[in-house]
């Protein structure tokens, strides 16, 4: 059985069709990339899956259970965690406290939460940031903290929303290492939205492409990179006509 299954998911904002009739499934142990030009509806789809937005129509199943109408916190408790593109926080939470909030999903004990959080930070090589305030950190570190916090809730499916955006080449390498570690060593199923093609193509087993809210391609990275519709979506009709596909 698929871990996550979307059946004809549609999301409208008034007259705007953000996601149209999208169906696919994610198998246990997969590492799936979700790409598409700006405004293609990738983050909206994440929001629908994680329960932040109600869908207009269609059903979403997680591990066989219909989670379409569940609230965000109920979806999270079933083992689906996500990160956010922008970390907006003004607060006074330190890095370790932030990660502890994730740990508290499974324990009431502060000591256990603290020791788990410390392990996760060590695992992601950001132990030395423990006592820093999250909003004072550089973007690259903030992204890893949000990843750490999501992991702390011990998800079975992790949705990563542009964790590599705005990072330098070296930082991308590092974050790729972290994602690989989560997937391979911690057995997490991962689905990631990414604009950094290098990362998507190197990491993903399978890539789904959205354009104008519709799924236009679904396949392994090799095939996707040669798909005419995908190239058209990214580079425009004219480019394809002049250069030919692939």
């Amino acid at each position: 059985m698929a871990l996550l299954e979307l059946q004809r998911v549609t999301k409208k904002f008034g007259g705007l069709m953000a996601n149209h009739d999208i169906s696919f499934s994610v198998e246990k142990g997969e590492l799936l990339g979700l790409i598409g030009p700006n405004g293609a509806g990738k983050t909206t789809l994440f929001n629908c899956i994680s329960g932040a937005y109600p869908v207009t129509s269609g059903r979403i199943f997680f591990d066989g259970e219909d989670i379409t109408d569940l609230k965000a916190h109920e979806v999270a408790r079933r083992g689906l965690a996500r990160t956010f593109q922008v970390y907006v926080a003004s607060g006074d939470l330190t890095v370790i406290e932030n990660v502890m909030v994730g740990c508290f999903m499974h324990t009431r004990s502060r000591n256990r939460a603290r020791s788990q959080a410390r392990d996760i930070l060590r695992d992601l090589n950001i132990e030395d940031l423990s006592e820093a305030l999250v909003h004072e950190l550089p973007v690259a570190s903030q992204k890893r903290v949000t990843m750490a916090t999501a992991i702390a809730s011990q998800p079975r499916l992790l949705l990563l929303d542009e964790v590599a955006a705005g990072l330098s080449h070296g930082e991308i390498e590092e974050i790729m290492g972290s994602i690989r570690h989560l997937h391979e060593d911690l057995d997490m199923t991962v689905m990631l939205i990414e604009h950094v093609m290098e990362l998507v193509m190197k990491l993903s087993h399978r890539v789904i492409v959205l354009d104008y809210g519709e799924k236009i391609a679904d396949g392994d990275p090799e095939t996707i990179s040669k798909d005419t519709r995908v190239i058209k979506a990214y580079l425009g009709e004219k480019y394809v006509r002049e250069h030919g596909a692939g």
């Binding site: 916190h73 999270a76 965690a81 926080a89 909030v101 000591n111």
Partner: protein, 334 residues
């Protein structure tokens, strides 16, 4: 057991803080042994009461970031429950206080459910409105004495009476409320480190993210609102026995709601010591200003001008209050 250990564990504070807090605690304990004016004693009792109000407010307002300006209605519910039960049925304080807490908490659930659908300023305004409506209702409700209020007659209930909490000398009230105060500090010390405490801080930080971590934001707020309410209601019950004469105006007015929130914000919302620092500054200031300026020169409302100035100063300089300034200073030195 772990909860108790956590409540008694202050080890994450620097030694100088603990030294200061410890010496203050001892000072409070032995204060009545020294010669003092009854005015000073009354001010200290007010300080302890408002510290407790502030601690309660700090759970939802400070850690949770929900600016609640309607706490006075729960002072009223606590105060009136104790007064009515004593006068009508001769039920003593130690029994009526928990009953008052139950009423308050029930009422807080009724209100909290719709109130927490609102956010930010809308929430703050709605809390003011609910509190004022309740006050107006009490002013026309004959069962509770309407606008005349209720009086506990010392002839019918002769002091000293520990069960009914009726004493002639203030020093007894002082030690009772001091006991509450210490318990309050230990409770808050546990609360700030509890799962709920962490979840609230996450909610204050970013509600959407909090939800994605499995936190039922609406329920967490309602729960915390009930905790805040319980604190305030207890002290409201104490207020009845201490003042022995209550009316809607001096238990449920907007002034009290604002003062409670303001103290916690001035001292440092979302910190353990904040409400105590805030009460320690504002209550003596208020008492002495009234005594010196108000009574002598006939200038009324000088304390209100002062509050306004404090609100402006906090919002302009440091939203986390005096404790925020201390923390910032310490971070910089490190």
């Amino acid at each position: 057991m772990e909860a108790l250990k956590s409540a008694l564990d202050f080890s994450d504070f620097p030694r100088i803080d603990l030294l200061a807090a410890g010496s203050l605690a001892i000072l409070f304990l032995i204060f009545p042994l020294f010669p003092h004016s009854s005015f000073a004693m009354a001010t200290l009792i007010q300080f302890l009461m408002f510290s407790l109000y502030g601690m309660g407010w700090n759970t939802i307002g400070g850690y949770g970031g929900q600016v609640d300006l309607g706490k006075a209605q729960y002072v009223g519910i606590g105060a009136y429950t104790t007064a009515v039960m004593l006068i009508r049925w001769d039920i003593p304080f130690w029994f009526s206080m928990p009953v008052g807490v139950c009423f308050s908490v029930l009422w807080s659930f009724v209100l909290g459910y719709p109130l927490f659908r609102l956010k930010g300023h809308y929430f703050a305004i709605a809390t003011i409105a609910t509190s004022l409506v309740l006050k107006d209702l009490f002013e026309v409700w004959d069962f509770v004495g309407a606008a005349r209020g209720l009086e506990i007659s010392p002839i019918r209930f002769p002091p000293p009476d520990f069960l009914r909490l009726i004493f002639r000398e203030d020093v007894y009230y002082y030690y009772v409320i001091l006991g509450f105060f210490f318990v309050g500090i230990f409770y808050m010390n546990w609360f700030r480190k509890s799962r709920l405490g962490f979840q609230l801080r996450a909610i204050k930080d970013n509600e959407v993210m909090a939800r994605s971590l499995g936190i039922n934001v609406h329920w967490a707020k309602i729960k915390t609102y009930a905790i805040a309410t319980a604190f305030v209601s207890m002290v409201g019950s104490f207020h009845t026995c201490y003042i022995r004469n209550i009316e809607p105006e001096d238990t449920m007015s907007l002034d009290i709601s604002i003062l409670i929130a303001l103290m916690a914000m001035l001292g440092g919302a979302g910190s353990l010591w904040g409400p105590i620092i805030g009460a320690g500054i504002l209550i003596p200031l208020k008492s002495y200003l009234k005594e010196w300026l108000g009574a002598r020169a006939g200038i009324v409302g000088i304390d209100l001008i002062l509050y306004a100035m404090i609100i402006m100063a906090i919002s302009a300089l440091e939203p986390r209050g005096i404790w925020g300034i201390v923390q910032r200073f310490r971070r910089r030195r490190r």
